[in-house]
């Protein structure tokens, strides 16, 4: 083992590893089995030494914590309650001591201690602050010893009784407010809008504005000259609505669907937690999503869904039949569902067969094979760069790809929220390292969402926003066969482009 690897091993065991050392160590253990064995042996001995000579070597404290938790879980179907460890307790105590430097023990505190001394008589409780405090004092024996004697001055009961009464009343008011009067979280928020956008709320028609919160039952109408961008589910989903589009939000506050009654929209949804459901509904189709990007266009007799990323479940509202739809495919939902491979634009790859399809049992689509992979062993390479509209997560057609020496006029672009995507062959590589004007970007792009590798990064296909400064720039990207910029480096690409910001650019 070399000195550098030895040092990295010790830093790993100490938890003070740097990114550079970690990368070197990872490269070492992946390439050298002897180093892996050596590191494993060192970790093995480290673990034994930590357990044998560290705090609580005989595990009495661990046994006490586990036993106490099991005992407390007895009244709840034998499910043990996890105790707070020293770290959490010390963190709590630290925070509390910062907020309240000195605290006289109150009557409830003393009562807690009394009940703690009689565990057999203690009733089953939920994890209140007082209970947590009990657990902390139980784990830190020095604290009860330092408590003042349990004296109860004569004036305390009255005052405490009054305070308790006020607290109970306030709690009741708060509960009632939460339960009966508080409005639910808004279903959507308007992030950006133009002038020709209105919100229909009941019988009132309001002009839409930026940062306006939409309520349950609202309808959003985009006029012929308007566009709007809205966030749903506290930012977990974004919709970009084109002109002549109408959207309706459900009247029930806890509903999880949005209806696009007409027009076209681009939808981007972050991956949803397991079990959660979100649907975009048109008069013809329901699109159930779990984290995806797609375009939805409502026409007279049909709805077109164009998948860009992820997978959705498509449901025909006329006959209730469902089909999964993957990235790269378009679906037209009318009387039946027709799926097309967008890449090849060939005849329908899959057509719903109403007479055979069973309800709630979607058949597996026979998707066409993706683009042919390069021969094994071929070096990855960056073929081109594409300028991305980060607001709508779409390529800007004039700069797809960006030619070397191109002039990008910010004033002429649909947005100033930009990003640059590297187009690779093969589409999926280990990682890509970007540099701008000779400066290496801090993060390595590893393409966590499909095969998107971009200069400013993305979150599951939602591009991060970046605005270039006016002037000449050089962007370069190097692909690697493995993650973290490791493995074999592929063929890089480097282009120059000029950024201007002029309403009337000079003719070339």
């Amino acid at each position: 083992m070399r000195q550098e690897e030895l040092q990295a091993t010790q830093l790993l065991l100490d938890g003070t590893l740097s990114v550079r050392s970690a990368r070197a160590l990872l490269r070492g253990v992946r390439g050298d089995p002897e180093l892996t064995d050596e590191l494993a042996a060192q970790q093995h001995l480290h673990g034994l030494l930590e357990a044998a000579f560290g705090p609580d070597p005989d595990c009495t404290r661990l046994a006490r914590l586990v036993q106490t938790a099991i005992e407390q879980g007895r009244s709840r179907g034998d499910r043990p309650v996890k105790m707070r460890t020293e770290r959490r307790v010390s963190r709590n105590l630290k925070t509390r001591s910062q907020q309240r430097p000195v605290k006289v023990k109150t009557r409830s505190h003393l009562r807690n201690m009394e009940t703690q001394m009689l565990p057999a008589q203690r009733p089953a409780k939920y994890k209140t602050h007082a209970r947590l405090r009990n657990m902390e004092t139980q784990m830190l024996p020095a604290v009860p010893a330092a408590l003042p004697p349990a004296r109860r001055p004569a004036f305390l009961p009255k005052k405490l009784g009054l305070a308790a009464g006020i607290l109970v009343a306030l709690g009741a008011v708060y509960f009632a407010h939460q339960k009966f009067f508080q409005r639910p979280a808004p279903p959507a928020e308007i992030l950006a809008t133009s002038t020709d956008v209105t919100v229909c709320r009941g019988t009132a028609v309001l002009p839409a504005g930026t940062r306006m919160l939409l309520r349950a039952g609202d309808r959003l109408k985009i006029g012929p000259a308007g566009t709007a961008e809205i966030a749903l589910c506290q930012g977990a989903a974004h919709m970009t609505l084109s002109a002549n589009t109408a959207v309706r939000f459900p009247a029930a506050a806890d509903a999880f669907w949005v209806e696009i009654t007409r027009g076209a929209s681009h939808v981007s949804v972050l991956p949803q937690p397991p079990g959660s459901k979100l649907a975009f509904i048109s008069p013809h189709a329901e699109v159930w999503v779990y984290g995806t990007r797609f375009d939805l266009t409502v026409e007279q007799d049909q709805t077109r869904v164009s998948m860009q990323e992820g997978e959705v479940t498509l449901k025909n509202r006329r006959n209730g039949r469902q089909l999964p739809l993957r990235a790269g495919y378009d679906a037209i939902v009318g009387a039946t569902i027709t799926i097309e491979n967008r890449a090849s634009r060939k005849a329908p790859a899959l057509r719903e067969r109403p007479e055979r399809a069973a309800p709630h049992a979607p058949p597996a689509p026979q998707h066409a094979q993706p683009a042919p992979a390069p021969p094994p062993g071929a070096r990855p390479r960056v073929e081109s760069f594409t300028l991305i509209d980060a607001l709508r997560d779409r390529p800007i057609p004039e700069f797809d790809p960006i030619p070397d020496g191109a002039t990008i006029n910010l004033a002429a672009l649909p947005t100033r929220s930009l990003n640059i995507r590297a187009n690779l062959r093969p589409k999926r590589v280990g990682s890509v390292r970007f540099s701008l004007d000779g400066q290496q970007m801090r993060r390595l792009e590893e393409g966590t969402a499909g095969s998107i590798y971009s200069l400013a990064g993305d979150m599951h296909g939602d591009y991060h926003s970046w605005q270039p400064e006016v002037g000449w720039h050089v962007v370069a990207a190097t692909p690697y066969t493995e993650d973290f910029g490791m493995g074999e480096a592929g063929d890089p690409l480097r282009i120059r482009f000029r950024v201007i910001d002029e309403a009337d650019p000079p003719s070339p």
Binding site: A22, A52, A63, V66, A69, P80
Partner: protein
């Protein structure tokens, strides 16, 4: 012994589980400490391991190796933790998770040889270490000093202290395997 303890716990004597924790806690904590540098996280995960064991005690296969069973539970918890770190962590956390996931099979193999005598053997071997190596090991593991602080107290660079610790662990390993050094 483990069968008897499990039988007592399943028979309603929940205090017997304390004996299980006392008997097998060090092995579980050693396994976790070999993977995790944060000892609070080791404590948390050891608790979770024993909770899971308690909740699943009815699935105990009579005559099985309790240490291996508990280590299996701990490994599952650890893998879930590493997956979380790899998915949601920053670059450093993901790199560390990658290193640990690469080393884990080798490490699991190393722990398979451990038994009830391992800790006694380790202590005996520590006594046999030369003073300068033993002092560094005690400063690191008993006094919980950082490499930097040990180096400052001994007048050595952190690199030199790392080398000493590496050699000490290497010698301990050889001693426990019955080799002369």
């Amino acid at each position: 012994m483990s069968d008897e303890l499990v039988e007592r716990v399943l028979g309603g004597e929940k205090e017997a589980f304390r004996e299980i924790v006392l008997a097998y806690g060090p092995a579980v904590r050693a396994f976790l400490a070999a993977h995790l540098s944060d000892r609070h996280m080791v404590d948390d995960m050891a608790q979770e391991t024993f909770f899971a064991a308690y909740a699943n005690l009815r699935k105990w296969r009579w005559g099985a190796d309790m240490t291996a069973w508990l280590r299996g539970i701990a490994r599952n918890k650890l893998n879930a933790y590493l997956r979380r770190h790899y998915t949601y962590g920053n670059v450093l956390e993901r790199l560390q998770a990658s290193v640990l996931q690469t080393v884990q099979p080798h490490l699991a193999q190393a722990f398979e040889w451990d038994d009830a005598e391992t800790f006694a053997q380790l202590k005996a071997c520590l006594e046999k270490l030369p003073d300068r190596l033993r002092n560094v090991v005690e400063a690191r593991y008993t006094d919980r000093l950082k490499v930097m602080d040990i180096g400052a107290s001994l007048g050595k660079s952190p690199n030199a202290v790392s080398s000493l610790l590496f050699r000490a662990r290497k010698r301990l390993q050889m001693c426990m395997e019955g080799e002369e050094y």
